[in-house]
């Protein structure tokens, strides 16, 4: 899987390159600025572009905007945004109305190689990956009349995993249950939350996230 990487910290970039290559990815280009990134993406047409949210010149949210540009101009290229801190708002901006080939991860996450590699791979394959802390903030928010309270703890776990972008199989593996059981939980959740069911994974993710966002 071909990767383009953008981070202004040379040290971190080098570390990430080695990490990704070790995990079997092919890092075709790396850059320190948003402009460079866009050029590299246009040039290499990678499977996934990994970008730090804060890159020069302003060190605010260039990475995010670059990611959005990539999603617009190169719908085939998956984008993983790394952030130094968790803001569900950014994630939702990034996802907008399409959860295909997009990821938003906390930068710390990179040190968990399997998790990180899994997430990048999922995005490269057109899936989505949302950092568990973002999901838990969305799910865990206190609400006056919380429809999520109607869910069982297990259903909650399934909901969170879904929001992270995991497939039924992945969820099953993670929760040590059968895929069939996961499907039952998913059906139950969608019924309880009155969401339209969808077989496609990325639509399911978007529906769940938008639903969570809509809850005050």
């Amino acid at each position: 899987m071909r990767i383009v990487l953008a981070d202004d910290s040379m040290l971190l970039r080098e570390g990430l390159v080695r990490l990704l290559e070790e995990a079997g990815f092919d890092v075709v280009a790396q850059s320190g600025t948003a402009d460079d990134l866009l050029r590299h993406v246009a040039m290499h047409k990678p499977d996934v572009a990994i970008v730090d949210i804060r890159i020069p010149p302003t060190h605010t949210d260039e990475g995010l905007r670059a990611a959005q540009t990539i999603r617009e101009k190169h719908p085939d290229v998956g984008v993983v945004v790394l952030s130094a801190h968790v803001e569900p708002g950014y994630a939702m901006e990034l996802l907008a109305d399409n959860a295909e080939g997009v990821g938003y991860l906390l930068k710390d996450r990179v040190s968990d190689l399997e998790e990180f590699a899994g997430a990048v791979r999922r995005v490269g394959e057109g899936g989505s990956a949302l950092d568990p802390t973002v999901v838990s903030e969305l799910v865990g928010r206190r609400r006056r009349e919380d429809p999520l309270e109607g869910l069982t703890p297990r259903e909650r776990e399934v909901l969170e995993a879904m929001a992270e972008g995991r497939s039924n199989a992945a969820i099953a593996g993670r929760l040590f249950v059968t895929e069939r059981a996961v499907e039952k939980h998913v059906t139950s959740i969608f019924q309880k939350l009155r969401l339209p069911t969808s077989d496609e994974n990325h639509r399911r993710v978007l529906a769940v996230l938008q639903y969570l966002r809509s809850l005050e």
Binding site: L16, R18, R54, A84, H85, S111
Partner: protein, 812 residues
């Protein structure tokens, strides 16, 4: 048949018959040594009383005295029964012989009205009757010898239980009672005499003299009876003789009243053609034997009585009676006399008739006299007013020469209040030479216009007097000038002090009406105000409309609510924008004083201070942002890199070095923890999302992390200035933190609004309330931050529940 004749016909024949019968009984008596004396005295006493009584009865039909005297006459006749030789008549006489004494006491006590008016009087009289009837009746039942040592007395026909001891006891008891009653009567009469008016005494004296003598003799007789019976008998005889005189004395009193009436009838014969008041009074006093009698004229137009000298008298003194005197149906005067004269209505009537003529004769003169007195009094009054008034008065002729001046001027100038200053020029006496010109101007104009003059007063102190001259006419009709002066020294000094005080103040002062019309003002020299452009003008003429309305509103508040009402405004003065503060207080019912102070400098300083504080806050915010970014871009990047390096190192360590792998794993976990903490720390220092995405996103993030439901009720659509957003963010953050910590709330509502150039932030919970806004440094720092932006922070936390943190900031 007249009343008098009828009375005489009813009683006189009976009296004569009873008299004849008693004479018959006495002359036949075989136990009276002095039959002839008794036969003469006895009927004489009886007839005297009956005759005098009938005269009194017919003259005073309403008065019981006459009746009592008639009764006494007949009761007296009963005593003659003891002279009888028949034992039954004799014994009856013994039983009833004392009744006349009780009747006599009754007569004396009730004199002159014949009525018993007090409880004491009734007690005495009832006691007397009781003793007279019961003592003798009892004595007759037990005493074998009712008249001791009586030779020839018939036996006691009623004797039931002869007992010398009982007889003595009855006798002693009767004597004791008799003495007590006699003493009470004497006390009563003495007291009455003391209280009586001269005219009253004149009426009382005859009956007291004779009655008193009788009583005293009888009292002594009873007192000595047990030891010296013979002497007592003699005294009793003497008392009888005195007794005979009583009716004659009474009759003499009556005759005197009739004679007085005849005197009154002579009165106006004696009064000269035009009597002087003394002559008139003297005639009345002579005729009525009352030296205190006074005559009064009635002045109908004044509706008051004046005495013969013309002095009004306001009320009749106590113990005197006023009897109005009328002439042809209208009141002409009054007689002020002793009330006892009312007892002699004929006399009073005759006196009134005489007074009528006397008063009518004297009438015109009395009125003149009254007028004169009134004028004199009026004059005295005016003089007193003029002399005691604090004003200075001086009358001068048209040339300015002094005619007279009042005591106040005399005191102030030290010039004696006599004729020494008369004819001298006013200027010479009372004015310093430099003021002579203004005096002559005022004298010529004589229009009351004031001029002031300063001179050395009698006490040596400088006095300032405000003089004015008015034309008047004197009593002889000559033109004069009245110069009146008021000592205004104190007032001028006070004014000078006030002016100095005002001059020393930097403020402008305006006095204006409720409607905003300037009445007066005071300004120091630097302010160029022209009087005609202020006084009489309205605030609308001088100030721009919004400022004028502000000023009027403050004036109304000051008048309606009291206290000091302040308002601030800015005005362009000579091309420069200036700030003013006006303090408005009510100074009269419909007037306020507005003290205006320029506060441009203060305002600028305040502005500077605020800007400086804002800069400090902004610098701090920038520093926080830099710090946060450095944490992320520096420390965090390095830690993440380190974490990656550890990860790579771990992958390269052969599996057999289990211990080293374990250490690396633990190090990674530590590192992950450090990264999480660093992240929280950075967020606390400055939330990146606030800078990147603005207040709405940042507040949303706060709400999402809050440990209780947060409703973001309103958010402005557009971005606010950085400093305001930062302040708003910290208000919400602090508010949510406090709610979570203390409020025990189930719900928080966050509202951020921008309206009319003001951003307001509100964090309201439904918790327990009662928070102390001063507690903790968090709120204090927050308040500083907001005040630096020109805003304010408030905490409302009533004990009834709910806390509301509320900030307002101007947004340019």
């Amino acid at each position: 048949m007249s009343y008098t004749r009828r009375l005489w016909l009813s009683f006189w024949p009976a009296a004569l018959a009873v008299g004849a019968l008693t004479v018959l009984i006495i002359l036949q008596s075989n136990h009276d040594d002095q039959r002839v004396v008794t036969a003469v005295l006895g009927p004489l006493v009886g007839w005297s009383f009956i005759a005098a009584g009938l005269v009194a009865w017919s003259r005073r039909p309403a008065n019981h005295t006459g009746r009592l005297m008639v009764a006494l006459g007949f009761a007296w006749a009963l005593t003659a029964l003891t002279e009888a030789n028949d034992k039954w008549i004799y014994s009856t006489g013994l039983a009833v012989e004392a009744i006349f004494l009780a009747v006599f006491i009754h007569l004396v006590v009730s004199f002159p009205t014949g009525r018993l008016s007090s409880r004491l009087e009734r007690t005495i009289v009832f006691g007397a009757y009781g003793v007279a009837v019961f003592a003798n009746a009892l004595s007759v039942l037990v005493d074998p010898t009712p008249i001791p040592d009586c030779k020839g007395c018939p036996p006691n026909a009623f004797l039931l239980a002869p007992s010398d001891a009982a007889a003595t006891a009855v006798q002693v008891a009767a004597d004791v009672c008799g003495i007590a009653i006699a003493a009470a009567v004497v006390t009563l009469l003495v007291r009455r005499w003391r209280r009586a008016t001269p005219a009253g005494r004149r009426v009382l004296s005859p009956i007291y003299l004779s009655g008193g003598a009788t009583m005293i003799l009888l009292g002594i007789a009873f007192a000595v009876d047990p030891w010296a019976g013979g002497f007592a008998g003699l005294l009793k005889l003497l008392a009888s003789l005195a007794f005979i005189s009583v009716p004659y004395f009474f009759l003499a009193g009556l005759m005197r009243a009739r004679l007085a009436r005849a005197g009154v009838g002579r009165l106006f014969v004696d009064v000269p053609e035009n009597p002087s008041p003394e002559e008139l009074h003297a005639a009345f006093r002579r005729a009525l034997h009352d030296p205190t009698i006074r005559l009064a004229h009635w002045l109908p137009e004044r509706r008051l009585y004046v005495d013969l000298e013309g002095w009004p008298f306001d009320e009749v003194e106590a113990g005197r009676t006023l009897t109005p005197v009328e002439y042809e149906g209208r009141r002409v005067g009054a007689l002020i006399h002793d009330p006892s004269l009312l007892e002699e209505p004929e006399l009073l009537e005759a006196a009134v008739a005489s007074a009528r003529i006397g008063l009518e004769k004297d009438r015109l003169q009395a009125e003149l006299r009254a007028r004169l007195i009134e004028l004199e009094r009026e004059q005295d009054f005016v003089r007193t007013v003029v002399d005691t008034a604090p004003a200075l008065f001086c009358v001068v002729d048209t040339e300015g020469n002094v005619m007279r001046f009042n005591a106040t001027l005399s005191r102030l100038s030290g010039l004696p209040d006599d004729d020494s200053g008369r004819g001298e020029p006013f200027t010479k006496l009372f004015l310093p030479s430099e003021d002579a010109a203004s005096f002559h101007l005022a004298l010529a104009a004589a229009d009351g216009e004031e001029f002031e003059s300063e001179w050395l007063g009698a006490g040596g102190g400088r006095r300032i007097v405000a003089w004015s001259v008015m034309p008047i006419v004197d009593a002889q009709g000559r033109p004069r000038r009245l110069i009146s002066g008021v000592d205004v020294t104190e007032r001028r000094r006070q004014e000078a002090r006030t002016r100095a005080l005002l001059d020393a103040m930097p403020d402008l002062m305006f006095r204006m009406t409720r409607e905003g019309v300037y009445v007066d003002y005071h300004a120091h020299d630097e302010v160029e105000l022209v009087s005609s452009e202020v006084i009489g003008r309205s605030v609308y003429d001088r100030l721009p409309r919004p400022v004028a309305e502000q000023a009027l509103a403050a004036a109304r508040r000051a008048l309606d609510e009291g206290g000091v009402q302040t308002h601030e405004y800015s005005l362009e003065v000579r091309g420069v924008e200036r700030q003013y503060e006006a303090r408005v207080v009510a100074s009269a019912a419909d007037e306020v004083v507005s003290i205006v102070r320029e506060i441009t400098d203060r305002k600028e300083q305040e502005h500077e201070v605020r800007k400086s504080r804002a800069r400090i806050v902004q610098a701090a915010d920038a520093e926080r942002r830099r710090l946060e970014r450095n944490l992320h871009d520096g420390a965090q990047q390095r830690l993440v890199s380190l974490s990656l390096a550890l990860r790579l190192a771990e992958a390269r360590i052969p599996d057999r070095l289990e211990g080293a792998k374990q250490i690396l794993t633990e190090a990674q976990q530590e590192l992950a923890q450090a990264l999480a903490e660093l992240r929280e720390l950075a967020r606390g220092i400055h939330p990146a999302i606030l800078t990147d995405r603005g207040l709405a996103a940042a507040v949303e993030a706060l709400a999402a992390r809050a440990p209780l439901p947060v409703e973001v009720a309103a958010m402005p659509d557009e971005r606010l200035p950085d400093a305001v957003e930062a302040a708003a963010y910290y208000v919400v953050a602090e508010g949510l933190t406090n709610v979570a910590k203390y409020a025990d709330a189930s719900y928080v509502r966050v509202t951020v609004e921008r309206r009319n150039g003001v951003a307001s932030v509100e964090v309201a919970d439904d918790g327990i309330g009662g928070a102390d806004p001063r507690a903790g440094t968090g709120l204090r720092g927050l308040a500083d931050r907001i005040e630096a932006l020109g805003g304010r922070l408030e905490v409302e936390s009533p004990a009834t529940g709910g806390t509301r943190l509320w900030a307002q900031m101007p947004v340019g």
